[in-house]
Structure formats: structure tokens, C-alpha cells
Symmetry: C2
Subunit: 211 residues, 2 copies
Amino acid sequence: MATARAGAPDKRRMILDAAVTVFARQGFHNCRVSDVADEAGVAYGLVYHYFDSKEEILNQLFLERWQIMLDAIAEIDSHEHVPARDKLYQVAGFIIESYRNEPDLMKVIIVEVTRAANSFGRLHLDKIREAYDGIAAIVETARQDGTFKADISSEFAALCFYGAIEQLLSGWIFDLLPSTDEEFERSKGLVVDAICGGLEAPSASAPAVSG
Amino acid sequence: MATARAGAPDKRRMILDAAVTVFARQGFHNCRVSDVADEAGVAYGLVYHYFDSKEEILNQLFLERWQIMLDAIAEIDSHEHVPARDKLYQVAGFIIESYRNEPDLMKVIIVEVTRAANSFGRLHLDKIREAYDGIAAIVETARQDGTFKADISSEFAALCFYGAIEQLLSGWIFDLLPSTDEEFERSKGLVVDAICGGLEAPSASAPAVSG
DNA sequence: TTCCTCGTTGACTGACGAGTCAATCTGATC
DNA sequence: GATCAGATTGACTCGTCAGTCAACGAGGAA
């Protein structure tokens, strides 16, 4: 019943997938519900059979994906005796990989939710903050053990780190940066180098700690 | 004539100012042109006497303010023999001061334009990129003289730096961070410390280069 | 075959709000 | 006081679109 027969497509899923495509292409506010229905190859009314409103579709897309990221961050942080820089590399890697694999979905989440905290994203400020908190937890451990500077609070550090990554994704989304696999790969390391190691060159007298 | 008499208010300016208040409070898409007119204490139709459309008001607000910032960045970079870190501190300081002095205007610019590159901000991607370029120019000089790492491109560095600052402003805008004068002041230094110096503590054997 | 449920359809409604416009006001000039 | 230009007014138009709903279809149960 609820489960689709073999071969019978799950219309609800089709609508969600179509919404990703349409929202990414036209923007949430610039598209009609009928655009989503058309893209899904489904009648207009069916959208309202599965969702209460246009917003609920976006909600669904965001919550589904964001939770995966929160879980990933928690998982990454759960391993003990891993240097903070490595953990942050994994976090950056996860986010960048998410974009590489599902650019439209990530574009929608960032453009329409994360960076739209004024309108739609307001509902999800708490969820968004949870991501900062997850990153801050990683930093905090490193502050405690002296690996990271004590005079930059972990919340502040998390904000900078996340901000840099989001700006990076925005660069790809809006074609300010080249979107190639090599760039994605290189950027994972660079963003961590930049934020953890800083932009400044180590003074000549100080030997590099790690290659 | 075009210039208002003494005491006679400049209605055009009043509309722009009212728009800042209304856009900041309700968001550009969630407010009516009549809200702006009401806030300005002016008839609905007058808005269309001075502006072609609702969007043109936002355009105006953005371009006016953004140009000031671009000029400020250029001015900061024009001084020779000033360390890049100091220049970046001035840039961060300028942006943060802008927010401290005119939070509503900066909120509108960031929320409705800079971070809305998908819808409205698309028109202004070039202007936005100019800001990155200005910051990148500062970094590039430092890369040339060896102060900054050569393996992080100046464009990439600029993106991280600007992203961190914008995330910081977003934190204040959405009450994720306390908005006090002390915090603003402290943050100027912290964001530069974080991005230029990095989050990692200098290894014990490497003497700090500067206090 | 009949009934029932639930998925599906798409024409329709109702609200909303950007932008128009004809009328009115103001105050400068002759 | 007659005239004119530009400022000001706000009721109205007109397109758009989210959300509704009555009808239809398909497949299972009795």
C-alpha cells in the first residue's frame, strides 16, 4: 500500500527530487508549485496530497540533509586521539563531497535556507546553530589540550571555519570559482590550512611541525 | 527645485531610509511597497515617482553603500609598507564599524543582496566580486614578499577572510552572538588573528614574531 | 458486480500586491 | 490672478500563484 509496487515510482520522492531541480534552477521564490509538479511529471494537486505547502517541501529537503551532516560531524568528533586539524579536514571534506555529489540539493540548502536566515531559514536557526556547535566542540577539545590557541573561543573559531566553507561553496554555486574535481579536492586541504595554519608564512626560524 | 528647501524634507531620502527600516524588519520579499510608503509617511504613489520599482530601491541602497566599502578597501591598500595583517585589520574594522553604525542597512545589504546571490544579488555579482578582488590584492602583495604563504592563492584567501567576516555579521544579525561594543571591538582583532595567524597555537619552540 | 479507499487529476478561487494614472496640491513666475 | 511644472495623492487594475475541491481511476475486499 504505502510502499510502492515494484516499478511503480514513489511519487512523493519524485516530487522532492523535482523540487531540488526546480528550486536550484529558478530559486524557491521564483518558481511556481506547478513548475515542480511539471518537473516531477505529476498533477498539480498531487503536490498538495503529499505536502501541506510549498514551504514544507523545502523544510523536508533541508531537515533530511542537514541531519545527515550533523550526524556526520558528531561521528567525526567521536573518535578520540585524532588531531583537531584532521577532524576539521574530515568535516570540510564531508561538506565539499556533499556538494560534489548533489550540487543542486546543497545549492538549495545554502541559498534558500542557510543563507536566507531572514526569511525561511529563521525556522531553522537552531538546527543551523547545532552545526556550529558541533564544529566548536572539535575546536574546544584542541583548545583544552593546547593544540589550538586559547584566546580564540571555540564558538568564534567555528563561525570562521564554517563561514569560510560556506563562502567557498557559494563561490562554486555562483561560478566565481572553477568547479572541477581537482579544485574540490585541493580546497578541502586549503581551507583547513588557511583556517588552522593561518595565511601567514611561518617565520623562517620556526621549523614546520608537520609536512 | 530639485534641492529641498530648508526644513523641507527630502522625500526621496526619506523613502530610502524608510526602506532600510522596513527591509531590515520584514525582509525585502515580505514587505509591501505600501509598508515603505507608510514608514516614510508618504503616499504610495510617491514611491513610484522617485523609483521605477521596488527593486530599484534596494539597488540604490546596495550600490550606494557597497561603493563606499570598495573605496575604503582601495584606500587601505594604497598605503605602502603597511603589513598585510594591518591592512586586513583595517578592512575588518571598517566592515564591522559599518555594521555598528548602521546595522539595519548592513543587514539589508548582506541578507538581501550579498547572501541572496541567487535572486536579487545576481545582478551585483560583479560588484561583490570586486570586494573579493580588493582583499585579494592585499593578500597578493604579502604573498609576493613572503609574509603570507605562497601555496594559498590570494583569491582563495580573500574568500576565506570575507566569508569569516560575513559569517560574523550574520551571527550578530541573527542574535547568535552578543552585539555589544566590546564584542565588535574584540572581534576585529580576533577575526584577523584567526585567519592570518590561524587557530593552531604556535609550537613552543617557535618564538612569537610580534606581540 | 458492487463498494470502498486512496492515489490522482487539473480547473478554479481568492488573496495579495506591484505598478498605473487621473486628479489635486504647491509654490514659483510673470 | 493666471499659468505652469513638478510634487503628491490613493483608488484602481491586472497578473500571478498558493492552495482548494469535486470528480475520476485503479485495485482490493466482500
